[in-house]
């Protein structure tokens, strides 16, 4: 008998970020951790050829394992194996640096690294700032509570 085919392809994939030429990714492991890079070619299922561009992000052209990449939402318009010059132009045209800095992801990374690099004086100042804020919140809250 014939199999009743109930296999319907989803119209929309749940994935929004793809490994593709021009995809901007964050390196999340290794010596270049924390730097942005662009996928300029795919080697195979697990590896991609990646370039900063070096002049902008400090990542040399290299093969990197996809496990070491976190894909971002950004994509630049380049051809296969784009040269560093055209890659830089594409980055400027797409405004990746500004867009990335504006994301919550980048802001979180920046604040975390800032916190981790605090000196004892910095931590003390942070503690004082937290106390001041907490005091303001509590007085306003208590006032509201009383008037309610």
């Amino acid at each position: 008998g014939e199999l009743a085919c109930t296999n319907r392809r989803p119209v929309k994939m749940p994935f929004t970020r793809f490994v593709e030429i021009g995809r901007v990714a964050l390196i999340n492991y290794g010596p270049e951790e924390g730097k942005l890079c662009t996928i300029i070619d795919v080697v195979d299922q697990n590896r991609a050829l990646v370039d900063g561009p070096y002049g902008i992000t400090g990542v040399h052209r290299q093969v990197i394992n996809l496990r070491r990449l976190s894909l971002t939402d950004f994509k630049v318009k380049i051809g296969l194996n784009a040269r560093a010059k055209s890659l830089k132009k594409a980055w400027a045209a797409a405004g990746v640096q500004e867009k990335w800095a504006a994301t919550a992801w980048a802001a979180k990374r920046a604040s975390r690294s800032a916190k981790a690099s605090l000196t004892d004086l910095g931590r003390f100042k942070a503690m004082l700032a937290k106390k001041t804020r907490a005091k303001k919140v509590k007085t306003a809250f208590n006032k509201l509570k009383k008037s309610a």
Partner: protein
Amino acid sequence: MPMKHFQVVGRKAPTESDPEPQLYRMQIFAPNRVTAKSRFWYFLHQYKKMKKTTGEILSVNEIFEKNPAVVKNFAITLRYNSRSGTHNMTKEYRDTRLTGAVDQMYQEMAGLHRARKESIQIITTNVVEPKDCVRPSVVQFHDSKIRFPISHRRPRVEKRFKKTFSPFRPNTFVG
């Protein structure tokens, strides 16, 4: 073991009757120069009547990849001994360096056919144009608009944070 690509040139030791013996050159994939010289003699004494004691190696030069910033398709023709016979194979790999493709080949042969390095002889290696590639595992990447999601992300956990038991199943969807 990461392989290096060497060119080894050797000849039979010169004698009075033969002061300028024929030079023989081989391309050898070996982890180091010492092993390269050894493999040179291993092959040479099968083809010609000379050995390490009767011959001399004139040069061992490492050959470096001309352009390691470009992904290429490599075809490796090899010959290997299985448990019950010896066979020829042609395998294709995608890599930026020939030595990388050779490493992949040794790993694949060990995994798929249980063939160790000692049982494998590389006959030829070639860079292949995408249109001439045959193996589907290589051909599927010949797409200028290649696009695929990372569908199964295994979380990378630092060794000190690894737990034996977890109340949650891992989340492999990152988007």
